[in-house]
Amino acid sequence: MDHIDVGLRAAIRALKDVVAPVIAPENAQAREQLGLCIDYLGYMAERLPHLHERDRFELSHQLAMAEAVRGILSDPAAPQPPDPAIDSGRAALQSANASTAEVRQATARVAASVSLAVQGSAQLDPGRRGLLERAVLAASRQMIAFERAWHLPLALDPDPHEVRPLSDFLPVRAEG
């Protein structure tokens, strides 16, 4: 079993207890950098156990957005043509063996296909363009809410009381 989280917390203790006390007060730059490093390592230790679930969540979000966009852009009277980005994204999400790198590549392909559709939407009639933009906006809200939850430990959100718990989005495990 991997114990990187234990190592990270040990590193934080070493920096706090051994390194910080011997940095001279006048070396403001070193003191500031050390504090930032300790904070960031703490954030990593908190988020590390959830990284793979995070990637899978992001892929599922991008797929939902891409499918909504495809529904708006396709001709309702004709069968939907295959979409390689969506198809490979679905396959990666359904595969228990998909690596983190494969999940990320699939996510990037799906997001690129949506971005391309939005960038080209000036050619659409205003009604359909509006539908497309509102669909992207609606789908983005869930991902933004997740990202706020993910970054909350860094204490930069001005409305932390609004931020939903990470467990609303990911199957968070109890930590030992």
Binding site: A28, Q29, Q105, G130, E133, E147
Partner: protein, 402 residues
Amino acid sequence: MNSTFDLRDQPTDDFIESLRQRFPTERETDILLTRKMRRRAGPPYAQVSLEQMVGWLRAMLGETIEGDFEVHDPRWLTGGASKVQIAFELGWNAPGKGPSRDRLVVRMDPSEASNTTSRVREVELLAAFEDLLPVPKVFWLDREARWFPEPAIIYSFVPGVAKPRSAKAGQVVGLGTNFGERLRAQLAPQFLRHLAAIHTADVSRMHFTSMELPPTGAVDCARWQLHRALRVWEEDRGEDFPLMDVAANWLQRNLPSLDRVSVVHGDYRSGNFLFDEPTGQITAWLDWERGHLGDRHRDLAWMTQREKGHLAEDGKTYLVCGLIPMDEFYRRYEEASGLKVDFERLRWYRVLNCFQVITTTMATMYRVAKLGKSHQDILLARLGAIAPVGAHELAELLAEVL
């Protein structure tokens, strides 16, 4: 992860030129962004020592001032995200003043900053407001990095603090600083008065070489600012974010015309002014590097963004920059400046500013930290957490207009 976006780590001449053609903007901005991209494949930032900084400083002073001089008590200044800064005391024979001992600051770019901005522009704006507002006095500019490894300014050290010594919030670059009730009451009127002085300054009596004068009654001003943001997003980003494409489309379709040319500070907020804590007097306005000639609504939209303020003690009242309740802010600004707030223009600039904040935190800070280009990469990595805050605000704004 290898991706199509890795091209931005070593941009080709064709890539750089294509972005210049797609997003024409002010000349000075174009020069700086082009320089940034042409240098990007170069080495990462090399940590410099205090001794090295002083060595470059001595070399510059040796060629710039007449007579003997002494550099005393050099020390690092921290707290910012984008510039390498030291303070020192200069013993010298000052022109027209005689033997003097001045407290000064060196402010130098890293290899690549979280904001690519002009030191010339900063110097010109500080000089323009020297008699109107509390600002540092500029002594010298190393515009072409002749003595320092990157462009640098030397200006006066102004005493003061950016946040109360007891403040818990606002520890990172002054965002969300809680000043407490006493200081809030003392600082807020000055904050508004100084803002009004900037926006009502007579531009025709000022001399700028690094900023272009946008025409009124036309959309050029808004287009220049939008193109700057779109170009930086394209230069720096590491991923697609379809909501940014939606925002870009809306911004392009709804460019507002300019009703009046103002000096725009560009980063007017808590964290960018110093004050004397016992008296509550503002002692200096800093960080003019995002300044330009343009629409006052750009500044108003910037300082009212969520991450720049916080909720008051009642847990309900949002305080602009931790100083003024939102529902009073625009009325008090109009009273102080005599200028109207146009809420349609304001909304456009609010969307643009969200786009800009996401660009800086999600694209530029990512790229700079990935390539190890600055002295503050760990801070830039942390500030990536602001991207979803900006995205949340952007989504709320777009929901009103789409």
